[in-house]
């Protein structure tokens, strides 16, 4: 782990890491996803329960956040596949200035903060269109410019050495020198999964919840196993995106926050010197 710089040129090498298109679509997407998440939780709060299939079996949600009475006390209970968890103060029953607020997600997680389904829908669908336009721009540009093939699709060699990459990540050892000029295999696979699987899945499961789109393309219902399943998958997929963003931000923080942020703002990235192999 001794990475004492011996060569000042190595230390200062600056590469142009992210193209303008990637930087612009990245930040637009970041803002759009934040608004979609928070307005989505506002919409979820209107009926904070999830089901499987075409219809809602109100007695047996696969997931629910609700206030419940127990021994004359009120609790916030989160139910997952029949298991109840006490989540008082956060989910199902959040604290607010009035004491107790029976709602799925707390005020700080929703847009708007107070309960207003119609306003949440307005935010959600406006930003859903932005999400679509921005996503299409990114995908078309990535295909046309070769970004997808050149920077994101892992090579066979990289896939073979994925075990080594995972081991390096566990030990918090990150690529240096020439290796740091491109995404490592785990980055490639995570970015591909988000861009080509999770985000398109959000759009398609979102459309599957639209009665109008279901009449246009009934196959949406068949793909996801019914409207309520689509709603559940929408929620799970959003949760995976939240997990991705958390890991992404942690990685940005521990691999040099200012260098990473600058590279996503100006494009310029300083390469850490390669370790001298002895």
């Amino acid at each position: 782990m001794d990475a004492r710089p011996t060569d000042p040129i190595d230390q200062g090498e600056v590469v142009y890491r992210h193209s303008g298109a990637v930087r612009a679509t990245h930040w637009i997407n970041a803002l759009v996803l934040l608004v979609l998440l928070m307005s989505g939780l506002q919409i979820f709060n209107a009926h904070p329960a999830l089901y499987l299939g075409s219809k809602s079996d109100f007695d047996a949600p696969v997931f629910a956040m609700r206030p419940m009475m127990h021994d004359n006390k009120i609790f916030g209970v989160t139910t997952v596949l029949g298991w109840d968890f006490d989540t008082t103060g956060v989910f199902g029953l959040a604290g607010d200035e009035n004491g107790h607020d029976p709602r799925g997600f707390p005020w700080w997680a929703t847009l708007p903060g107070y309960q207003d389904l119609s306003l949440g829908r307005r935010w959600h669908f406006f930003f859903a269109w932005l999400f679509l336009f921005n996503g299409l721009a990114y995908l078309l540009w990535s295909l046309g410019s070769g970004h997808l093939r050149r920077d994101l699709v892992p090579s066979g060699r990289e896939l073979k050495h994925i075990g080594a990459s995972i081991w390096d990540h566990i030990r918090l050892r990150f690529p240096k020198g020439d290796e740091a000029k491109r995404y490592n295999v785990l980055q490639k696979l995570s970015y591909l999964t988000v861009a080509l699987v999770l985000l398109p899945l959000m759009l398609l499961t979102g459309l599957a919840m639209s009665p109008g789109m279901d009449a246009v393309a009934p196959i949406l219902l068949d793909i996801f196993g019914g409207r309520q399943s689509a709603r559940t998958i929408h929620f799970i997929s959003a949760s995976f995106i939240v997990i991705f963003v958390v890991v992404h931000i942690v990685m940005v923080l521990i691999t040099g926050v200012w260098n990473n942020l600058r590279s996503m703002i100006t494009g310029r990235y300083v390469i850490a010197p390669a370790e001298k192999e002895s």
Binding site: A49, L117, F126, P211, A215
Partner: protein, 260 residues
């Protein structure tokens, strides 16, 4: 880069991020109430409506299900027992003397009893009811196609919307202004699955579900499907009705086009 300079920049960035966070958490609420923000957000409804209208042909049907798919418990939302003297009197007599009024921009205004509506050609469909809140129930509906009523009433060419006036005072204002109402465009009014239902799950439509007559507009959300329909009116614009947005929930901020 000197370290002092770097720290300043870091301080600036950190303050920027903190400000952005505060704005996003607390600032969006007042932002939501700015008329210009609302106008921008509301513009998405037009985009959605135009897009879905372009994609939806008259022959595109909402999925129809089988008897086995029927919900055991079909949730009754909104009003479940209208507190209106006239309505209660009709309900007490099983709507025997009740009549549906069809008027507005029509050549032949109609006044039809339940028996007369039942004597008309009917359509039966098992469809999914999608509430704006997120849940879905599946029910079986039998009723008169709205198109048949509008043709019988000789709807005029200048008519563009069909408005439904209801008996329930969901706004609880105690006046006509608080009563539920809805409107649909002609594309939905003449759609094959758009019916005024008098039966649900093989029985006379129960009061919690909108007796004697409820609208079904299967390619839109539940709030479009007005219950307790008393009067149907063909109009060229709904701008002059109540708050001018075309429906009870629409007047409170919900989309007039509820296809999503």
């Amino acid at each position: 880069m000197s370290s002092g300079n770097g720290l300043d920049r870091r301080g600036f960035l950190a303050r920027g991020l903190a400000a952005a966070g505060t704005t996003l958490l607390g600032g969006c609420d007042p932002l939501s109430e700015q008329p210009w923000v609302r106008r921008i957000l509301d513009s998405a409804e037009t985009l959605t409506r135009v897009t879905q209208r372009a994609l939806l042909t008259p022959s595109d049907l909402a999925r129809e299900y089988s008897e086995a798919d029927l919900s055991r418990e079909f949730k009754a939302n909104g009003s479940t027992d209208p507190d209106d003297a006239g309505y209660k009197a009709h309900a007490a007599s099983g709507f025997a003397n009740w009549k549906l009024q069809v008027g507005g921009l029509v050549g032949e205004p109609l006044s039809l009893s339940l028996d007369e509506l039942r004597a008309m050609n009917s359509r039966t469909q098992i469809t999914r009811h999608d509430c704006v809140e997120g849940w879905s129930c599946i029910g079986k509906w039998k009723g008169v196609p709205l198109s048949a009523l509008l043709e019988r009433a000789q709807i005029k060419p200048e008519a563009r919307y069909i408005v439904f006036y209801c008996a329930d005072d969901l706004g609880e204002t105690g006046t006509e202004d608080g009563k539920y109402y809805e409107s649909v465009g002609l594309a939905d009014a003449f759609h094959a699955q758009t019916i005024l239902a008098y039966e649900m799950n093989g029985e006379t439509l129960p009061i919690p579900h909108g007796a004697p007559l409820r609208l079904r507009v299967e390619r839109q959300l539940g709030y479009k499907m007005a219950k307790y329909v008393m009067r149907v009116e063909a109009v060229d614009s709904f701008a002059g009705i109540r708050r001018g947005r075309g429906g009870f929930w629409e007047d409170l901020g919900y989309e007039w086009y509820a296809g999503i």
